[in-house]
Symmetry: C2
Subunit: 414 residues, 2 copies
C-alpha cells in the first residue's frame, strides 16, 4: 500500500492515565520521523477540540529528546481530553462533512486517536465514513485505559502502571493496618465499574500467602453483605488485621451498587445510616456487625494519574505501541486499533497487531470467571501470572526540587 | 558520665510513618554496636506490649546489612505500635513499679521510644519516676510524626517523606484536572487536625506560579464558606481548573470542623445535604454555588504510610537521629528527645541536640502566622524555603516482582 503524503494529527480522549503521554510520545516520534509526513498536529481536548480547530504543531513543543523523555513520565493528557461521543453519520452528515473539510484544510492523511472503548467508537465511525468519500485518510486507534477492559488486546497501556501503584499502596496500607494490636478491617476501594482488573491487581501486593489483601471483591461477581461478614469472620480466625480490596462497581443481587443498595433503605435493617462510597459502606458495615476498628480508603483519582511509581514495562510498551501505530498506518492500515498480543508470561514477551476497530468499539472485557476463586473473594494464580509481568521494571524519573518533573503544554491553549 | 552496662529496649508508638522504621534501624544499629549494651530488645506494640512482656531480641531478626537496609524502606511500625497514655505516677504507683521491675528483670539500662507528643509524655513520666528509684536507666525520646507538630525541633522524621508524597500527588491531580475543557474544582483533603504542615506542603507541587494548588486552607486559620467561594471566583478569572488543598482540621468561626458545621443543619441553608469528609463537603459546596464539575479527594492513610516515594533527606536523617539517640544515652543523657537543629536552608544543613522532654510532651507546634499569606489561602516563600530541603533526594528502593520490598516481623509476635 502506498504511503500517503501529507500531515498527521494525534488526539487523546477519555480518562487520563499515567501512560497516555508515552503513547503520544511514541506516535509523535515515529510520525515526525516519517518522510511522507510533514507536520504532526496535536488536537487540544480531543476530537471536540479538533472540530473547533484547536490544533497545535507538536514540533514546536516537542523539540528535543529531553522533551520526549519528560512527556513519557508526565501523567494525564498532555493535549487535554474530551468525552465526546460522535453521533451516527446517517443522522449527522453535516458534522462529518465539517470534520472531513478540516482534514482537507489541514491536509491530514493520518489520524491517531489514543483512548478507550468510547474513543475507538470515534475511530470506527470516522473510518467508516471515510469509505464514502474520495479523500484518502487513515484512522488508527491507540489503546489507553487503566481499566484494562478493551477487547481484542491482551492488555492496555496505562493498566500496568496503575496496577503497580495500587499493589504498592495496598501493601503499604496492609503494613499500616498491622501497627495496632486489635482486630481491624481496612477496606480499599479501587476503580473499575464493570471490570475488576485494577481491583484484582491488589492481589500482587501480597508478601506471603497470609498477607493482605485478604479478600478481593470484583464487579464480575454478585456481592452479598452476609457472605462478606462470613468471609471476614473466617479471616479473623487466622489474623487480626484484615485488608479488603473492593471494586467501586460491586453490586448486590438486585443489581444495585453497594452504596446505592444501602442508601435506599437497607440502612434501617442494619440500624445504621451508611453514607459515602463503597469502601466506607463496607467499613461501617463490618464495624457494626463485628465490633472492630474499621477504615474505608478510596484510592480515588491518584490511582489513574499517579506517575511516581511507573511500570517500565507499561511505559515502554505504550511508547512502542504509539510507534507501531504509525508504522501500520504508513503501511495502509485504517479502521484498526493496535493491540498487544502476548507470546509468553515468563519471560514476558508481547508484540503488536492491528485489530478491526468495529470489534473493539463500545465493547468491554471483564475478568474470566476461571481466574476468580470458587468463593468469589479472590483471584487465582492464573490472574497473577497474567498481571505480574505488566508491573515489572522501574522508570528512573527525572526529578526537580525533590519531585518528578512534568512536561506541560502552555496554558494559553486551554 | 559513665556508660551503663546492660541491655537496651526500643519501642514504637503512635501513628505509623514512612520513616519510623529508619529511626528504629538507626537506634538498633548504634545500640547493637555499643560495647556496653548486650542485648537490644524490641517491644512489640509499644509500652503496652512491654508491660505484657512482649519482647523480641532484635538481634535475631536484624542480622545483616540487607535487613537494616530493607527496614529503612519499610513503612509503618515494624514492631507494632500502641496508643497507650500513661497515667500519672502519683495515682498509679503500682503500674510504675511493675514497669521498673521489668526493667530490672531484663536488665534494661537504655530505653528508646520512637513517637510523637503523646509518646514523649511516656518518656517524660518514666524518666521522672526513675529519679525516685535507685535503678539506673536512661530514657530517650526519638521524634516521629508526619504531622511535624513537635516542639523544640526544627522538623520531625516522617514529615519529609509524607510531604514529598503529598506534593507529588497534588501535582499529579493538578495534571489530571487539566484534562477536560471545563471549569472544575478538585479539593484534596490532607492530614493534620491542628497543625497544617502537611497541607501546606502541597504548595511544593507547583510547577509554575500559576499551577495548582491554587488555594490552601490550613487549620491555623478560621475557615469561611463565603470567603472560599470568593477565592474560587477569583481563581476562575485566570484559569479553568482549580486545585484546592485543605486540612482535615479546618474549622469555621463557631469552632466546629467544616464537616460537622455542615452536617449540623447548615445544609438546609445551602439547599443540599453534605456528607462525608471535608474534601467532599467543600467539593459539593463549590459545585452547588458555582455550577462546575467538582471532585473531593481524601488522601487518607496512604499519605502517612506511602513508602514508594521516600525523601532521602528524611530517611537518612531519621536513621542518624536514631543513632544519635544512642550516642547521647551512652553519654548520660536521659529525659530528653533528640531534636533537629537547622543551621541553613541552602545548602541545607542540620544537626542533633537533646531537648528537655518536659518541654515537648503533649505540646504542639503549628505553622507561624507569618508563613501564611494575608488572604489566609496560601503559604509564603518562607514556608517553601523551610519545607523544600526536607523532600529532597530519592531513595533507590530494593524491588521484588515490581514492588518495593518490605521487612516484616513474623506474624506470630502479633
Amino acid at each position: 500500500m502506498k504511503k500517503l503524503q501529507g500531515n498527521a494529527v494525534i488526539g487523546q480522549s477519555g480518562g487520563p492515565t499515567a501512560a497516555i503521554n508515552s503513547s503520544l510520545a511514541g506516535v509523535y516520534k515515529a510520525a515526525s520521523e516519517a518522510e511522507c509526513i510533514k507536520t504532526v498536529f496535536g488536537m487540544i481536548n480531543g476530537f471536540e477540540g479538533f472540530l473547533a480547530e484547536r490544533l497545535v504543531d507538536l514540533g514546536e513543543y516537542l523539540k528535543t529528546d529531553e522533551d520526549i523523555s519528560l512527556l513519557r513520565q508526565t501523567p494525564a493528557s498532555y493535549l487535554g481530553s474530551c468525552r465526546l461521543k460522535l453521533p451516527k453519520a446517517e443522522d449527522n452528515e453535516e458534522l462529518y462533512q465539517e470534520a472531513f473539510n478540516l482534514f482537507k484544510k489541514y491536509d491530514i492523511r493520518y489520524f491517531f486517536y489514543i483512548g478507550g472503548n468510547d474513543s475507538m467508537d470515534t475511530v470506527m465511525k470516522l473510518s467508516s465514513y471515510a469509505k464514502k468519500t474520495d479523500y484518502e485518510i487513515r484512522f488508527i486507534g491507540v489503546p489507553k485505559t487503566v481499566d484494562n477492559d478493551l477487547l481484542e488486546t491482551d492488555h492496555t497501556p496505562g493498566f500496568g502502571s496503575a496496577a503497580k501503584y495500587i499493589a504498592a499502596t495496598v501493601r503499604e496500607v496492609a503494613q499500616d493496618a498491622r501497627a495496632y494490636f486489635l482486630n481491624s478491617v481496612s477496606v480499599i476501594e479501587i476503580m473499575g465499574r464493570n471490570a475488576g482488573w485494577l481491583t484484582a491487581s491488589a492481589a500482587l501486593a501480597r508478601l506471603t500467602e497470609n498477607d493482605g489483601p485478604d479478600l478481593i471483591y470484583l464487579p464480575e461477581c454478585e456481592f452479598s453483605f452476609d457472605k462478606y461478614i462470613e468471609d471476614l469472620k473466617n479471616v479473623f480466625k487466622r489474623k487480626k488485621n484484615i485488608v479488603v480490596a473492593v471494586s467501586e462497581g460491586v453490586k448486590t443481587s438486585d443489581g444495585k451498587y453497594v452504596c446505592e443498595a444501602v442508601a435506599s433503605g437497607k440502612e434501617d435493617a442494619f440500624g445504621h445510616k451508611y453514607l459515602g462510597g463503597t469502601a466506607q459502606v463496607l467499613a461501617d458495615y463490618a464495624g457494626n456487625k463485628l465490633c472492630c476498628k474499621t477504615r474505608g480508603i478510596e484510592l480515588n483519582i491518584p490511582q489513574r494519574c499517579a506517575a511516581h511509581l511507573l511500570s517500565k514495562t507499561d511505559i515502554d510498551e505504550a511508547f512502542e505501541n504509539g510507534k507501531a501505530a504509525v508504522g501500520f498506518a504508513l503501511d495502509g492500515v485504517t479502521g484498526a486499533m493496535i493491540a498487544y498480543e502476548r507470546m509468553s508470561d515468563e519471560p514476558y514477551k508481547a508484540g503488536f497487531a492491528p485489530k478491526d476497530i468495529s470489534k473493539i468499539a463500545n465493547g468491554e472485557k471483564t475478568i474470566p470467571k476461571s481466574w476468580i476463586n470458587k468463593d468469589e473473594n479472590d483471584v487465582t494464580e492464573e490472574f497473577i501470572s497474567y498481571a505480574r509481568p505488566l508491573i515489572l521494571g522501574e522508570v528512573t524519573l527525572k526529578m526537580e526540587n525533590g519531585l518528578p518533573k512534568h512536561l506541560v503544554l502552555p496554558r494559553e491553549h486551554f
